[in-house]
Subunit: 254 residues, 2 copies
DNA sequence: ATCTATTTGTACGTATGTATT
DNA sequence: AAATACATACGTACAAATAGA
């Protein structure tokens, strides 16, 4: 292991726009700027950094691409500190996995570990509005699908059930990771052949799990909720394994 | 390369650089370009999109900020498709949590759920080199720290133990999430007061867990590894709870 | 609705920097 | 060492968007 003192990294000489972007970032941190706060305008940036308009603009585009600022034209316009949106964060992270070959199993390994934990903590803490929303969601797939397209829509809807739950967690990290996985699964391309009909019985059991889960959540029975979700995940995983699916290779654009 | 077609979503009126960046992204996907493949040069981009150099350059900066391309000057230079690095992905995701108030407990809730799972799958599959690396790592904190600074270094080193493990997983998602959490914890600022000495006994037990874990991993005992890691996480969580720590608010720059 | 002021957005020409041959 | 091919940076002019009078 190299000593900590020597900067053994020969940085590939950062381009000026990147330098400016980094400088602005640390300036925002130092000043303790909050979302909505205005950044200096182009002309002032040009003066402060003694750099051309183009360079400054490229720097702003970098910050914008990372979701850290939003820019508006017109009077009172300019660039404003912006909280990185969840959608943007999911898109950026999704790009990381573009060249990795993430499998269904990889995702379900985490879902199985995390989602039971999620609902155990949620039991008894959900307002009736959310419980109703969950129940309304399950109604979207109360009957078996008759076409492949309907099946896909139901599949996405049933995933939404989990996104709703994830959004309720007061653990931002847990919430994000589950939401991200749900997104990845929603983006799947289904390759199942027509002669391989869906396992209707397994599917019905999946929905049944969700219905029972809402009951447990309403009653505040965290242990039951955890157990139901665990069984649900195992069933769903098995269901996915039976079908031929593969991760869609694409970039996400928020 | 397709012309800049009208964006499917007309709502927020994307700026031209963003449009170009998106067009290039989907072009890369359509062409199935792989990391290392060269993109058209500036002049050709200018011709294809019928746009100015500045606009094209801003578009490239956007892609670069997202970690999707790298650009080199000189003959044979240009922009090249690039696999988003793990460091970049961690930095971008870290920015998402900048304005969220993520607590130690939030992170440990996930560690407790994921890391036992990780080591259970790793047991018996690690090459001797990695096992040796893990053991060498624990040697860095075999003795109790005498200064606050040494304690901090030991703390970071003990986190590195988990990063090494995470890197061994063949589940890219699990690997990333754990690595990300380790990074977040390494970035913590310790605020413990001097008159509140570290709990040396708890600390020693933490290291003991790691040593025993390596043994279980070498012997291929997944069950034991899972149990040890679970206990380790619970102890570490308790240790962190006892100290006054808070998430450092800063942007990460890769 | 129209004008006006403000601020970002786009275009383009020129010059400089950098790495390969 | 020099020529070449490419990105990088600068400055100016003008276009577009938006809020307010």
């Amino acid at each position: 292991m190299p000593p900590v003192t020597t900067p053994s990294k020969v940085e590939p000489k950062l381009s000026r726009p990147v330098q400016v972007a980094e400088a602005i970032k640390s300036w925002v941190v130092e000043e303790g700027l909050r979302p909505g706060d205005r950044l200096p305008g182009e002309v002032e940036m040009i003066a402060r950094f003694s750099m051309s308009k183009g360079t400054i603009r490229e720097a702003m585009r970098i910050l914008e691409a990372q979701g850290l600022i939003k820019t508006r034209t017109g009077p009172g316009g300019g660039s404003f500190v912006h909280e990185v949106s969840r959608e943007r964060a999911k898109a950026l992270l999704g790009n990381y996995f573009y060249f990795k070959d993430l499998t269904i199993g990889d995702i379900y390994q985490l879902r199985l570990a995390l989602e039971p934990e999620l609902v155990a903590g949620l039991a008894g803490h959900l307002p009736e509005t959310v419980l109703a929303e969950l129940e309304a969601n399950t109604a979207q797939y109360s009957h078996p699908a008759r076409t492949l397209d309907e099946e896909r829509r139901q599949h996405v809807a049933s995933l939404r059930f989990h996104a709703i739950l994830a959004a309720q967690s007061d653990n931002p990290l847990l919430s994000f990771v589950i939401d991200f996985m749900v997104n990845m699964l929603s983006d799947l391309t289904v390759h199942r052949e027509l002669y391989a009909p869906p396992n209707a019985e397994l599917w019905a059991r999946g929905r049944d799990y969700q219905v029972r889960l809402v009951m447990a959540l309403r009653e505040g029975d965290g242990g039951a909720a955890r157990a139901i979700m665990k069984a649900h995940m195992e069933t769903a995983w098995a269901l996915m394994r039976g079908q031929e699916m593969e991760m869609q290779r694409r970039f996400i654009s928020e």
